[in-house]
């Protein structure tokens, strides 16, 4: 062990805190305080993808992101004593997302690919520095990020891309299986070859 290592805070291989990982799945949770006008603006922003799904097509192309969700928190739910009642002076933006890969690469994708979208969601939050340049944006996310106290993935050894591809392959296999029973060997060999050619992007 080298002595200078004690000057750092170790993270996992993916650049996040240990509590945010379950196998290949990584969680990110960010709270930010919202300015007065965000209380009205954010609900409008949230309806845009529902009315015009094409606005989030770029996000959907980033297959290593399982999902990304922004919610406006106006009050802390009260479950009775001994929990203290907390009144929020400002609403808070609650962001949660699951992804595969590295934390830096995840934020890079937000910065470089979803630049304008980030402003729509976080523009009304105090301290938001814009999505570009990435350095201040990463520092902002880091400062507002909370390590998960419990994070669970149903398929910790698989990524979302793998699961999607496996489901695609399953469909192709099911189709071949249904047709295979009546096929003579030559025809089956040809059909299997076709399936392999079609499925080579599946993994």
């Amino acid at each position: 062990m080298n002595a200078t290592a004690s000057l750092t805070t170790p993270t996992t291989a993916t650049g996040t805190r240990p509590g945010n990982r379950d196998g290949y799945a990584i969680a990110i949770t960010v709270f930010s305080t919202v300015k007065w006008w965000g209380r009205a603006a954010l609900p409008v922003v949230f309806t845009v993808p529902k009315i015009a799904p094409q606005t989030i097509s770029t996000l959907q192309r980033l297959s290593f992101i399982h999902f990304a969700r922004w919610s406006l928190i106006r009050e802390i739910p009260y479950n009775g004593a001994p929990q203290p009642e907390i009144k929020l002076r400002h609403p808070h933006l609650y962001f949660e997302s699951n992804f595969n890969g590295g934390w830096e690469e995840y934020i890079d994708a937000f910065s470089h690919i979803l630049t304008r979208g980030m402003w729509l969601f976080w523009g009304s939050s105090y301290g938001f520095p814009k999505a570009l340049p990435t350095g201040p944006f990463k520092a902002y996310i880091k400062a507002n990020e909370m390590e998960a106290s419990h994070f669970y993935s149903a398929y910790p050894q698989a990524t979302a891309t793998q699961i999607t591809r496996a489901l695609e392959l399953d469909e192709l296999l099911a189709d071949l299986r249904a047709r295979a029973a009546d096929m003579p060997p030559d025809e089956f060999a040809a059909a299997f070859g076709t399936l392999m050619a079609e499925a080579q992007r599946c993994c």
Binding site: L7, T8, A13, F64, P133, T159, T161, G193
Partner: protein
């Protein structure tokens, strides 16, 4: 402020960062020195400081007989008396060092630190000597060894490397084509080495991606023109981070494995299969632009390296898992390369050990491989991003958990070589043992010459 407005201080930047010595200097020795006490260490540094080569152009055709360069690990800086408050301004991964990040990097099993060459664990100072020839290098080595002993220090490890015929590495491939184009240093290499733009144009990368204290790609889009984080002054200007790794190559295992696989592939075309694994033919011709045959490839011709993967999305020409496509994906991740352009490194590797004779398929027990050297301003974003997210895991490319087949690793992944046309079935390369094993290394800091003087004088803050 824009990156183009900034001239690089070549007189203060160490010469091995921006200049590929290997093009002119056939021999390189890497000497790791252990500091026993700060005073002796600093005296020694002062004694050798004037030999350290900067990046200024050499006047005329005269080349120095031997170029000296110096780099420090975090424990090395501490051993020389750099105070903790200054050390804290360095990056976390540098402070942790390569050994502590072994699991992150996939250095496990036979590549784990317990298996490394003894002298490559916890190194302090690396002196790199590039000699025009054997005689010049030996003279410099003798001088260095004498100075080390005279100041009560120790040499922990020496690694002697040299270019192989045809500038090949031990597996037989020409290496080192895809160097980044850097504004103010290598703008002329932008085509193929820089960032791809629309309409076939390219631009060089901001210098701060590779040299500390200069605008980086973030600065380019920052209205306030802020510079990237760097160690405290005077250490944070004209320096950079260096990754040094000794990678042993099992040439016989690689040859046997590829030959056995090729017997089942495309009519036994082993040359094509080797190219599919690497993404380039042995002479360096890219598969994307030369899918059938390397032809007569001239690496120095304009545009020779200016290829993209956008019109080869399925990897019919260059497999998605090919080594060069994984390590420098250009636009292969989509979005015009915006997910990859901040993960570039300057590579300065050099082979070590004698080549295994052509055609030999049994290991002769000799130690041979590659001394991997790269320079980058952020080890975590650049080197580790490539190593961890692109080479050790294939998810981002749609390759599941397959590791880079050329490197293998402890749980070497399979590799899919897609058929050349839509009707051709894919060819599967089974997981294999590690062709490449890590024998040691560390993360180092390469100071500018002013900063080197400050370290030697003990006035770093």
């Amino acid at each position: 402020m824009t990156a183009t407005a900034t001239a690089l201080d070549l007189g203060d930047i160490q010469g091995d960062i921006l200049r590929a010595y290997g093009n002119a200097y056939g021999r390189t020795s890497y000497v790791f020195v252990t500091i026993r006490d700060p005073t002796g260490g600093r005296d020694w540094l002062r004694a050798i400081a004037d030999r350290v080569m900067n990046a200024a152009p050499w006047p005329g055709a005269e080349k120095p007989s031997c170029a000296w360069n110096v780099a420090f690990s975090a424990p090395g800086l501490a051993a020389l008396g750099v105070p903790e408050r200054v050390l804290r301004t360095f990056s976390d991964e540098f402070l942790e060092g390569m050994e502590l990040r072994a699991k992150v990097l996939g250095d496990t099993g036979s590549s784990s630190p317990e298996q490394w060459d003894g002298g490559l664990r916890h190194p302090h100072v690396l002196v790199t000597l590039n000699g025009l020839g054997e005689r010049e290098l030996e003279a410099a080595l003798t001088e260095l060894r004498t100075e080390v002993v005279r100041h009560g220090l120790e040499i922990a490890h020496e690694e002697h490397a040299h270019t192989l015929d045809g500038a090949r590495e031990h597996f037989g491939f020409a290496d080192g084509f895809a160097q980044p184009a850097i504004e103010g240093a290598s703008d002329d290499r932008a085509e193929g080495g820089g960032v791809p733009l629309r309409a076939g144009r390219w631009r060089a990368l901001a210098p701060g991606e590779f040299i500390l204290g200069y605008p980086d790609e973030d600065t380019r889009v920052d209205p306030q023109g802020r510079l990237p984080s760097a160690p405290a002054s005077p250490l944070g200007r004209n320096g950079t981070y260096m990754v040094w790794r000794k990678l042993r190559q099992d040439v016989a295992l690689f040859r046997r494995t590829v030959a056995a696989a090729a017997a089942r592939y495309a009519g036994g075309d082993e040359r094509l299969l080797r190219a599919k694994v690497v993404g380039r033919w042995e002479d360096g011709a890219p598969l994307v632009s030369h899918p059938i045959d390397p032809g007569t490839f001239d690496a120095t011709a304009p545009g020779a390296n200016a290829f993209l993967y956008g019109d080869d999305e399925d990897g019919r020409r260059c497999p998605l898992g090919a080594h060069v496509r994984r390590s420098n994906p250009r636009d292969a991740l989509g979005f015009e390369g915006r997910l990859s352009f901040r993960h570039r490194i300057i590579r300065r590797g050099m082979p070590y050990g004698e080549p295994l004779a052509e055609g030999v398929l049994e290991d002769d027990g000799a130690d041979r491989g590659l001394v991997f050297v790269c320079f980058n301003a952020s080890i975590s974003r650049q080197f580790e991003g490539i190593q961890v997210q692109w080479l050790n895991d294939g998810n981002v490319f749609g390759l599941g958990h397959d590791t880079d087949w050329l490197l293998g690793g402890q749980n070497g992944g399979s590799m899919v070589v897609p058929g050349a046309t839509g009707d051709d079935p894919p060819f599967y390369l089974a997981p294999q043992g590690p062709f490449v094993t890590t024998r040691g290394g560390d993360y180092l800091f390469v100071p500018g010459l002013t900063a080197l003087g400050a370290i030697a004088d003990g006035v770093t803050g």
